[in-house]
Symmetry: D2
Subunit: 141 residues, 4 copies
C-alpha cells in the first residue's frame, strides 16, 4: 500500500460562485496544496532547498484528470487523501480522493489523478523533467 | 466543423508562483471563463435569466482532463480556442486549445477536454443534470 | 474588551508570487474568511438562513485600510485575531491583527480595519445597508 | 497632471461570490495587475530585468486603503485608471479610480490609494525599501 497523507481544507464563502457551490478551479488550488503537503509530510524540504541540493525547483503538472461527483459549499470541511500511485523514470502519478464527513457518513466529492515531474531549469531557462531523485522517492514510499 | 470562439487572457504577475510560471489552477479559472464566454458569444443569456426561463443555473463540470505542454509567465497573452465537440442527451463535451503567439509562431500551452452538464436545482436543493435544452444547442452549433 | 475570535490560515506555495512572498490579494481572501469565521464563531447562522429570517445576505465591505508590516511565505501559519471594534447604526468596524508564530516569538504581519454593512437587497435588486440587526449584535458583543 | 494609464478587466462568473457580486479580494488582484500594467506602459522592464540592473524585485505594498462605492458582477467591464500621485524618497503613492461604462454613463465602483516601495533583497534575504530609482521615476512622470 502506498503511503497516504491527508490534507484538510475548509470551504469558505469566497471559494463559492454565484450558484452557491465551490468554483471548480479552487479544487485544483487545494489539490496543489495537498500535493506539496504530501511531500512536506514525507520529509521533503522546501523547493528552495532542493533547488540547491538536487536542482529540483518543484513538481510541475504534466497531465491531470478529475471526476466531480458531489458539490461542496462554504462551511464544509474536505479531506484530500493523497498518494503517489506510480513512480516512473522521469515522472510520477499522484492521486487524490476528496471527501466530506457528513452526519450520514462520508460523501465522495471528487477524484483526481495527475502526472507530475520533478522540474529543473535548463541552462536556457526552460523547464525540463529530471530523473526522479532516489532520495525523494525513498522518503515518499 | 463545430463553432469555435476564442477567449483571450493576459497572464499577470500574481497569476505566477514562486517558480515564476503560471500556477496551474489559474489555467482552470481562465478555462471556466472561456467556457462561459463561448456561450455568451453564441447568444446564450446570463444564467440568472436561463434559471427563470429554462431552470438552467449554469454548466457545472463533471469530468476534466488536461495536458500541459509548455509553461507561460506574466506578460504572455494566451488564446483559448473553445468548441463544443459533442452533444449528448444530458451532457456535452467542451474542448479548449490554449496557445501563445510568439515571435517564432504559435506555441501550444495546453489542451483540455471537459464533460459539463446544464445544471438545475432539484426541489431538495441538490444539483441535477437537465436534458440539453434544444434552444441552447441551436444557438451553439 | 470586545470579543476576539482567531482564524488560522496556512500559507501555501500557490499563495506566493514570483518574488516568493504572499501575493497581497490573498491576505484579503483570508481576511474575508476570518470575518465570516468571526460571525460563525459567535453563532450567527449561514447567510442563506439570515436572508430568510432577517433579509441579511452577507456583510459587504464598504471601506478597508491595511498596513503590511512583514512578508510571509509558504509553510507559514498565520493567526488572524478578529474583533468588531465599533457598532454603528447601519455599519460596523471589524479589525484584524495578523501574526505568525516564530521561533523568536510573534511577528506582526499586517493590520487591517474595515467598515462593513449588513447587506439586504432592494426590490430593484441593488444592495443596501440594513440597520444592524440587534439579534446579531447581541451574539457578537 | 500625473501620467494616467488605464487597465481594463472583464468580470467573470468565477470572480463573483454566492451573493452574485464580485468577491472583494478579486478587486485587489486587478489593482495589482493595474499597478504592474502602469509600469509596463511607462516602459519599465520586467522585474527579473530590474533585479539584475537595479536590484528591484518588484513594488511590494506597504499600505492600502479602498472605498467601495458600487458593486459589480459578471459581464461587467471595468476600467482601472492608475496614477502615481506622489514620489517620496523610498516609497510612492499609487492611486486607482475604478469605473464601469453603463448605458446611463460612468459608474464609480471603487477608489483605492496605496503606498508601495521598490523592493530589494537584503543580504539576509529580507525585503527592504530601496531609494526610488531615478531611471524608473523619469519613465513614469
Amino acid at each position: 500500500m502506498p503511503k497516504t497523507i491527508t490534507y484538510t481544507a475548509r470551504v469558505e464563502f469566497g471559494d463559492c460562485d454565484p450558484a452557491g457551490i465551490v468554483w471548480f478551479p479552487n479544487f485544483f488550488g487545494w489539490i496543489d496544496a495537498a500535493s506539496r503537503h504530501f511531500f512536506a509530510g514525507c520529509g521533503v524540504p522546501r523547493w528552495e532547498e532542493t533547488t540547491r541540493t538536487l536542482g529540483v525547483i518543484g513538481t510541475p503538472l504534466v497531465d491531470t484528470k478529475a471526476r466531480f461527483v458531489s458539490t461542496a459549499s462554504y462551511g464544509d470541511t474536505l479531506q484530500f487523501a493523497v498518494q503517489v500511485r506510480e513512480w516512473r523514470e522521469k515522472s510520477f502519478v499522484q492521486a487524490y480522493r476528496v471527501t466530506r464527513d457528513d452526519a450520514a457518513g462520508e460523501t465522495l466529492i471528487l477524484e483526481c489523478e495527475e502526472v507530475r515531474i520533478f522540474g529543473g531549469k535548463h541552462p536556457d531557462g526552460r523547464l525540463r523533467a529530471l530523473p526522479v531523485p532516489p532520495e525523494i522517492r525513498a522518503l515518499c514510499e
